[in-house]
């Protein structure tokens, strides 16, 4: 793989830059320029630099629209993402840990359930039926628990592989030092899972924050919208206001881009290093 001659390295790199710029960067640049235009110029749908650059004004207007609906949606989405990912990670780690450490008659059943969770599409209306009988339908806690239920399988599967690489001697040492099962797990094992937790948190946060289908089914109604549903504010009306629509797209895309950039190195480190040192 390292046998490339210098001209080839430059040539392939340059072709790559041209192709990826055209395919991947132009759509992003298009969103950005549209978000900075005034309404008339944006309606032409052209890819050009805005004559009146009014990005800030558009962003403010998007946040103020419909009684600060986007602000409320951001609060809802933040609560939804933080709560569901936290529960997924803690509860998922507990399952993965006991599943790996303890041979039990339950294990084959749990393994089957985990695989089922990865493959089976959730049954929508029966889920609504169950939630309604529990008083969880159309509530944020209900949606949080649904996201946890749908995300657990992936979390358990990923964590189990990682926990298997943590030597049991660590458990033994902690027990000799007098730690009970709760302290052993939360104070000794859980901190060692840091790198896999970062990976899962990033992946699941992207999934939950960007989710459209589950809020659409389980938390309908504009007063408790999540950020993905706010986009339809600017489309369902007779005339689409494209500059505000794209300002909205931009605003709800930024959080996940920033999170990825912050954690990029740790994700790569978590994927490559794997095992516990010492």
């Amino acid at each position: 793989m390292n046998a490339m001659r210098r001209p080839t390295r430059w040539l392939v790199g340059l072709i790559g830059i041209l192709v990826t710029t055209g395919l991947f960067l132009v759509p992003f640049a298009f969103v950005f320029t549209m978000a900075a235009k005034d309404t008339n110029e944006a309606s032409l749908l052209e890819f050009s630099w805005p004559t009146h650059f009014q990005l800030w004004q558009n962003v403010v207007e998007v946040f103020r629209a419909r009684d600060f609906m986007l602000v409320i949606a951001f609060i809802n989405s933040t609560i939804l993402t933080v709560a569901s990912v936290t529960l997924m990670v803690v509860f998922g780690a507990m399952v993965a840990y006991v599943l790996d450490r303890r041979k039990s008659r339950l294990n084959p059943l749990i393994n089957t359930l985990v695989l089922a969770g990865l493959i089976i599409p959730p049954a929508v209306v029966p889920t609504i039926w169950v939630m309604q009988s529990l008083g969880l339908f159309k509530t944020l806690p209900g949606l949080i628990l649904v996201e946890v239920a749908f995300g657990l399988a992936f979390t358990v599967l990923t964590m189990r592989a990682f926990i298997a690489s943590i030597p049991r001697e660590i458990d033994e040492a902690a027990i000799v030092d007098g730690a009970g099962p709760l302290r052993l797990f939360f104070q000794v094992i859980f901190p060692l899972l840091r790198s896999v937790i970062v990976t899962i948190v990033v992946v699941q946060s992207i999934f939950v924050f960007n989710d459209f289908q589950n809020p659409l089914y389980f938390l309908p109604g504009s007063q408790n919208a999540t950020v993905q549903l706010t986009l339809f504010n600017y489309m369902s009306q007779s005339q689409t206001t494209y500059n505000l629509l794209f300002a909205n797209v931009l605003v709800i895309t930024v959080p996940m881009l920033v999170m990825y950039i912050i954690f990029q190195r740790q994700i790569v480190a978590g994927m490559t290093s794997g095992a516990v040192k010492g």
């Binding site: 392939v12 830059i17 493959i119 209306v125």
Partner: protein, 310 residues
């Protein structure tokens, strides 16, 4: 540590403390109640609805009252052209997106594993679409692919002089256009998996091949292609599961239209739910369950068996 040794069944032989019964020890250290919090949420909100879907699919249902009607929902599903078409579209969509992600992801990963200039930049740029929501991507492409004013068709007509196709409005190509957008959005993930797979191939193989005078194509064909098979099977399974269940992108670009041209089972489930046909919607769910399981389960077993042969 030196005073403690652990045997296979988890019992401890400690010099400092008298040994305890192994079952009791395991029981105390790894309590089974750790399964309960996750288990309750998972069973109540996922397993129970899944099991009940097999009953409600055979009923006329208002959420409060259900009447058993036998196979009527399924008969309706398979006789209505708009509904049976969604089954075909689901399969087409799933297989096309999966195949494209395998081929393009592999090619891109090979290029991005080579020592080319601006490699970090290229890796980031191809991964960024993965971070954008399907709704955001769908809306953006709806505008980019606008038949008259979209920049894609403006580019086509300025180069060829002819009008570009109605990407999302022509019933013959709407589904393929959405599949293309799906590939655009998901390619970065497939590429990332392949890059990890190629990086895991021991360097000795490449060195030995170079000593034997292999060219780049031979290295790709005889080293990278067979030895990145675990990555291939991961990409196939993941993208097929995602593709067969896909809803967000289709709903935000075409809403299953024009007509029923790009309806998939997941969008039919939503439409029937909106229309209040809860039994029919649940029958769609059962059909999707059967389709996904009947494809993924044997396929993953077959891929696993090939993986262990290697």
């Amino acid at each position: 540590m030196s005073s403690t040794t652990s045997s296979r069944d988890g019992s401890r032989v400690s010099l400092a403390k008298p040994p305890r019964a192994s079952a009791e020890h395991v029981d105390a250290t790894y309590p089974l109640w750790f399964h309960i919090p996750a288990g309750v949420i998972y069973i109540v909100l996922f397993i129970v609805p899944t099991i009940f879907s097999f009953y409600f699919a055979f009923t006329r249902w208002t959420l409060f009252k259900s009447t058993f009607i036998g196979f009527d929902n399924f008969v309706l599903f398979f006789s209505e052209p708009g509904l049976i078409g969604s089954l075909r579209n689901t399969l087409v969509y799933g297989f096309i997106t999966s195949a494209a992600k395998v081929v393009l992801g592999m090619l891109l990963a090979v290029v991005l594993s080579a020592p080319i200039i601006a490699r970090g930049y290229l890796r980031s740029v191809t991964f960024f679409p993965v971070l954008v929501s399907a709704v955001g991507v769908g809306i953006t492409f709806q505008v980019l692919l606008d038949p008259f004013n979209g920049i894609v068709n403006k580019l086509i007509s300025s180069v060829t002089g002819a009008d570009g196709p109605g990407w999302l409005t022509d019933p013959d190509i709407a589904l393929l256009s959405v599949a293309g957008i799906d590939v655009w959005k998901g390619l970065g993930l497939a590429t990332l998996i392949y890059i990890a797979g190629i990086a895991a191939i021991p360097n000795e193989y490449f060195e030995a091949a170079r000593v034997d005078g292999a060219n780049s194509w031979q290295m790709f064909r005889h080293i990278i292609l067979p030895l990145s098979f675990p990555a291939t099977s991961t990409v196939i399974i993941l993208s097929l599961i995602g593709g067969l269940r896909s809803f967000d992108l289709i709903w935000t670009t075409t809403q299953g239209g024009p007509g029923f041209a790009s309806d998939v089972i997941a969008s039919v489930i939503y439409k029937q739910y909106q229309a209040g046909f809860y039994g029919l919607s649940t029958a769609g769910n059962v059909i999707l369950f059967v389709v996904v399981t009947a494809i993924i389960y044997p396929l993953s077993r077959w891929l696993n068996s090939k993986e262990t042969v290697l």
